[in-house]
């Protein structure tokens, strides 16, 4: 089943906005304290340890596939199709 793009976008944005509206600015206590984040601060836990390599690989896939976006990187236009 294919989800209509406009509906998908609207539902996702409204859901995100709703969650933020309920939780933003409220005094939520962090359940992982700063001194408990030693493992998370390790470079191997970075989502993008090598940005120049990640950007290049995104470009390789985007030039050969119909899907694009939601990778966390910004790319320029390309006449690669």
């Amino acid at each position: 089943m294919r989800i209509r793009p406009a509906k998908f976008a609207a539902v996702t944005l409204l859901a995100t906005a709703g969650v933020l509206a309920l939780t933003a600015c409220s005094p939520i206590q962090p359940w992982v304290k700063p001194y408990e984040r030693e493992h998370l601060a390790d470079p191997i836990m970075s989502f993008s340890r090598d940005p120049v390599s990640a950007s290049y690989i995104d470009h390789v896939y985007e030039s050969r596939e119909g899907s694009r976006g939601a990778t966390g990187t910004v790319g320029g236009g390309c006449g690669c199709n």
Binding site: R2, I3, P5, A6, F8, A9, A10, T12, L13, L14, T16, A17, L20, A21, T23, A24, C25, I28, Q29, P30, W31, V32, P34, E36, R37, H39, L40, D42, I44, M45, F47, D50, P51, V52, S53, S55, Y56, I57, H59, V60, Y61, S63, R64, E65, G66, S67, R68, G69, A70, T71, G72, V74, G75, G76, G77, C78, G79, C80, N81
Partner: protein, 388 residues
């Protein structure tokens, strides 16, 4: 009207984020020099990629990058397009260069980013501007970001002086969440809109023609694409710290657009530091998509539809990538300004298998019965990074 309502929602969301400002950290000062080499399907692409990032004071970070693709391949003598499929033997050379400049400004827990990207090819010119804001909140457990990208491209044809415009707009939403002391969650959503000449002006579609002069039973005509395309992509990523000092990550992305393409991407990765200064990365990526509504490998006759495409990118296919990388960290005391550096080598092996795109190198068979096309590719990346 509908687009205006969506835009109003996004502006309201950005305002909500800005209104609750609370932290952020600017990216590290670093430089990267990468050399990449792609070979597969009759194409060789190589070139450098350079990224430099430097903080100015405590609140501003500047970045600049340069990227080049030097392409050697074959012109498809059947379709006329410079594609991987080697159905012709005419070699061509092409170069693509891209420069970018970016700035990040940190204010409290909010980071504002903006930048400009310029890409140039002999028959394509791309100009892109982007802006984003990210916010750390809930005791820095959560980082949320919102971005907008706008592109103005000009599509040309070698030998002609006129160009056709192509405009791009992208909206991005991102969330990074600490779930436990060992588990991170990343969510990204992106809507993209393109408007203008979206097809490759060189590429042709083929249709059945028993009277064709080439004796193959088909003739060709230029592709005809819709002038607009809207796509939505959503992805989720988990990264888990393993007790023996290693990391495991999984990623899924869903994509769909108004051309009828639905794509699924699955990725699994494992990172293992070894011998104090080495890090080994392995990953696997599986991708599949169905074809666009107006795609066909062989149309029944000329002008069979309003819109017609024979682009592998719009076909039904699957691809599998297996990758291996090694990184060596070094400290060079002679260079006091260099905190650390890494030497990295990555190798990716890709396999593409098409379900409805046929290999036109096979002649003497009934059109539409040629073997399905498939190809393998190797990607090598060698890069050096330095933190200062």
């Amino acid at each position: 009207m509908h687009r205006r309502r969506n835009y109003a929602r996004l502006v309201a969301l950005a305002g909500l984020l800005l209104g609750c400002a609370q932290a952020g950290v600017l990216p590290d000062d670093r430089f990267d020099y990468l050399y990449h080499h792609y070979s597969g399907g009759g194409m060789n692409i190589q070139g450098p990629s350079i990224l430099v990032r430097k903080k100015i004071g405590d609140h501003v970070s500047l970045s600049g990058s340069y990227f080049a693709d030097n392409i050697t391949g074959h012109v498809d003598t059947v379709s006329g397009a410079s594609v991987d499929a080697v159905s012709g033997a005419s070699t061509y050379h092409e170069e693509r260069k891209q420069e970018s400049f970016g700035i990040d400004v940190l204010q409290g827990k909010t980071t504002y980013s903006a930048g400009y990207i310029a890409g140039n090819e002999n028959d394509y010119r791309a100009r892109t501007a982007y802006a984003s804001v990210s916010e750390d909140m809930f005791g820095d457990l959560t980082t949320i970001s919102f971005g907008f990208t706008r592109g103005w491209d000009k599509v040309g044809v070698v030998g002609r002086t006129t160009t056709s415009p192509l405009e791009r707009r992208n909206w991005q939403l991102g969330l990074s969440q600490i779930l436990t002391r060992n588990l991170l969650l990343g969510l990204n959503f992106e809507t993209s809109e393109s408007e203008g000449l979206l097809n490759n002006p060189y590429r042709m579609v083929r249709y059945v023609d028993n009277q064709a002069s080439n004796g193959r039973g088909y003739s060709t005509q230029p592709e005809q694409y819709p002038h607009t395309r809207t796509g939505n992509a959503g992805s989720g990523q988990l990264k888990y710290y393993l007790p023996w000092h290693a990391a495991l990550d999984g990623n899924y992305r869903y994509y769909s657009d108004t051309w009828g393409i639905v794509g699924h991407t699955f990725e699994l990765g494992y990172t293992q530091p070894v011998f104090h200064s080495w890090t080994i990365d392995t990953h696997a990526r599986y991708y599949r998509q169905n074809h666009a509504d107006f795609y066909a490998d062989l149309f029944p006759y000329a002008f069979a539809q309003n819109f017609m495409a024979r682009d592998r990118e719009l076909a039904t296919f699957k691809s599998l990538t297996l990758g291996l990388g090694a990184s060596w960290e070094f400290h060079w005391t002679r260079l006091s300004w260099l905190q650390k550096g890494t030497l990295n080598l990555h190798w990716d092996r890709m396999r593409f298998k098409y379900d409805d795109y046929r290999d036109l190198r096979y002649i003497g068979v009934t059109p539409g019965t040629e073997p399905l096309y498939k190809f393998d590719a190797n990607i090598f990346q060698f890069f050096i990074s330095g933190w200062f």
